[in-house]
Amino acid sequence: MTRNDTPSPLLSLTVNGEPHRIEAGATIADLVAKIGLDPAKVAVEHNAEIAPRSTLADIVLRDGDSLEIVHFVGGG
């Protein structure tokens, strides 16, 4: 990428179809915590790949990443 050497302070993400911003360097675990969710009760898909719960703190987000955060709801 031939962009400004100074990274943008905020990353632009898509979380559950909505735009979302977070500090550069944040991990998925940081995102889940920032939103206020209990990681034990949700599952995360990162750019169409499952992000195992044990790895959430290791995956650093990048600008343009797309995430789905789901949980169990009532259903038949």
């Binding site: 949700v42 949980h71 259903g75």
Partner: protein
């Protein structure tokens, strides 16, 4: 029951422990209940309790990012006590269903799932081509799919060969409450299956749950019949009793049908 066919001879005494096993997990209750359409979580939890169900179906959906502290189903129905069976409701392709269940496995940490791949919104009839494809892929990925399907004995065998750990034919369209429309095909599926057979969808009231069990099904799965009753908790109890009654009737081996009367009191000794 149809015409004069009698149920197969019972193989288990009715008073013995009558459990059923799916993919190596053994359950006592033969009633699986859904967790959709309830007024609130309290009513849902009370209905599950009254139903005696050991398995509940659940859907996988996006969390509400703007309201992360909203109550969750898991706060009311404890997944450590009740087996959560994640479904793929709303999925119209094998790809969507598989994606949903991969997330479900990550969220819940278990492999037993309910696969349903729908063909159209109006009838919610299963798309069997996609269902079969998804079953094969899920089985290869180590899932244990219990599969919602058409009431077709050949399709049921194909699902079993593809790795379905249970086949779950519809009795009538999802949410219709029309009862079991084709008892012959459900019976044929039961007779041909080596895996558990559960009627999934179509039951509207208790007698219809009993019919499913009298046909020899291993269990019944329902949601709307309980959730949309005027008194869901009482209907949950009714369904529990109906499933038990139908099971006992099946194991008892019903009497043969006659075309005309046969008195129950002696004909001799009349005054």
């Amino acid at each position: 029951m149809t015409d004069t066919a009698s149920a197969p001879a019972p193989t288990t005494p009715a008073d013995a422990a009558d459990t059923w096993t799916v993919a190596g997990r053994t359950f006592t209750s033969r009633l699986i209940v859904g967790t959709g359409k309830y007024k609130d979580f309290e009513q849902n939890a009370a209905a599950v309790e009254a139903s005696g169900a050991e398995i509940v179906t659940v859907a996988v959906r996006r969390v509400n990012v703007s309201d992360p502290k909203a109550p969750m189903l898991t706060d009311y129905i404890d997944p450590k006590k009740i087996t959560y069976l994640p479904n793929t409701a709303g999925c119209f392709t094998a790809e969507d269903a598989i994606r949903t269940l991969r997330l479900a496995r990550e969220a819940g940490g278990w492999d037993l799932v309910k696969l349903e791949v729908l063909g159209e919104a109006r009838t919610l009839y299963p798309d069997m081509r996609e269902t079969l494809k998804a079953t094969e892929i899920l089985a290869k990925e180590g899932f244990l799919p219990m599969v919602y399907c058409v009431d077709d004995p050949i399709a049921a065998k194909q699902l079993e060969e593809a790795g379905a750990v249970a086949v779950m034919p519809l009795g009538a369209p999802i949410g219709s409450g029309l009862g079991i429309q084709n008892q012959v095909t459900v019976r044929l599926i039961v007779e041909g299956a080596k895996v558990p057979v559960l009627v999934d969808a179509g039951v509207g009231t208790a007698s219809e749950a009993a019919v499913a069990m009298e046909l020899g099904c291993d269990g019944v799965l329902m949601n709307t019949a309980i959730a949309e009753a005027k008194n869901p908790v009482r209907m949950a109890l009714a369904m529990r009793l109906a499933v038990e009654a139908g099971r006992h009737a099946y194991l008892s081996g019903r009497m043969a049908k006659r075309r005309y009367a046969d008195p129950s009191s002696p004909l001799s000794g009349m005054i």
